[in-house]
Amino acid sequence: MGPVLAVMRREFAGYFATPVAWVFIVIFLVLQGTLTFSLGGFFERDQADLIPFFQFLPWVLVLLVPAITMRLWAEERRLGTIELLLTLPLSQGQAVGGKFLAAWAFTLVAILLTFPFVITVNVLGSPDNGAIAAGYLGSLLVAGAFLAMGAACSALTKSQVIAFVIGVALCFVFAASAFPVVTDFLSHNLPLLATIARKLSLIDRFQNFVRGVIRLPDVVYLASQIVFWLTVNTLLLEHKKAD
């Protein structure tokens, strides 16, 4: 565990070594606030809950999470430090885990900074705070799945821009796979794939959390997404680290 924590600490501090972290957090909060209040009709709905907030959160994450993960491996490749890191006495899995945990911790900070929404809704009414807590747990798990996807994309290339674009595309596929546009098209042409697409959707799972329902299958599904993409990340490194 020692090397994992060392990598995690270095990477986490790395976010704050440049203004990138602050820029990211501000943009995240502004975007999330704007969408919740204007498009989400937070006040007009006249209901004490955070449904509009959670409705937009995964989509903001689709766009911003790959920005958190794009540098994880691409930058190591560009600088050549990947050779330094991967010749230290730690396994590739430990390096992958440490970087993922750093990105997850950073995302946790960003998500926790949305606490004024919780305060606002508690001042204005009496919301179901259990459902809100479940929504936050779901957000963290969905963010984790996106982060693992983004990290794997970063291991593909030495260009952060390419890592970002592929990352957004990959996250979008898993977010949007249960959209009527997608499933209607598939059920007309390939019914079997439509069922699979609906099952794969992260958003459908996330909706359960937002309603305040924490189901074991949803937690297991999101956790296995994280494990799967971290494994992909490790394998990509194994095969392409010296390219």
Partner: protein, 246 residues
């Protein structure tokens, strides 16, 4: 003599191109091996395979008896490695970077601080300890890379061009440092500076087109050319047509 580095039939192919072709040698404690060869001869690739960064197509590399491919982490604990170009994290300070290396290597608290202070002393880094690495000159960066490789006082050192970018005084310091450490370690350094080989190495290997074409003490190698200079021998061996070289 205790053989700390053992390489057998090490081969690396990139598609149709063979970068390293059946290289075998071993290095014992107390030896400083100079790794010579023209650019693209396979020096760095061999060192990358030794450090377990590049997987060989065939052959094995062992550090302290541990297979680099199979007992990777155990082998790497015995190794101090300076990769080609001395890559470092530019945004970290020198101290912060060495603290990270210490932490990954499992040193904590007072022991980590002592080790960091010791390698900073050895490589003369105290003056720049709190500066971000990206602001340092090439010579300082190279020394930070060296400090990182020496932090755990490993029995095996693999240094890819340790004096590249250093001024003559710094080169002298690094050579003195290597000579001082030599008796209790097995060291491989790659370099283009032949006088360096004569100054610090007990043995030299010349590699060309991925193959070992000479393996002898520098003084002996120098005698192979009528002029008695290592440089002439090097040039004669590495510019020879392939048939002769093989």
């Amino acid at each position: 003599m205790e053989k700390l580095i053992e390489i057998e039939g090490l081969t690396k192919r990139f598609g149709a191109f063979t970068a390293v072709d059946g290289v075998s040698f071993s290095v014992s404690r107390g030896e400083v091996l100079g790794f010579l060869g023209p650019n693209g001869a396979g020096k760095s690739t061999t060192m990358k395979m030794l450090a377990g960064f590049v997987a060989p197509t065939a052959g094995t590399a062992r550090l302290g008896g541990r297979d680099v491919q199979r007992e990777t982490v155990a082998a790497r604990r015995l190794l101090g490695y300076l990769p080609e170009g001395a890559p470092l994290y530019p945004e970290m300070t020198v101290t912060g970077f060495l603290r990270f290396i210490a932490e990954v290597r499992g040193f904590r608290g007072a022991e980590a601080r002592e080790r960091i202070a010791r390698v900073m002393e050895l490589t003369n880094l105290h003056g720049v300890r709190e500066l971000p690495i990206e602001t340092l000159s090439k010579g300082f960066k190279r020394r930070v890379g060296l400090a990182q490789a020496l932090l755990h006082d490993p029995p095996i050192l693999v240094l890819d061009e340790p004096t590249d970018g250093l001024d003559p005084n710094q080169k002298h310091e690094v050579r003195t440092l290597i000579q001082r450490m030599a008796p209790e370690k097995a060291i491989i350094i790659s370099t283009h500076i032949l006088e360096e080989v004569e100054a610090v190495c007990t043995r030299a290997i010349i590699i060309a087109r991925g193959r070992v074409i000479a393996d002898a003490p520098p003084a002996e190698l120098a005698k192979r050319h009528p002029s008695g200079s290592l440089e002439e021998t090097f040039r004669a061996l590495t510019t020879a047509p392939l048939a002769e070289a093989a």
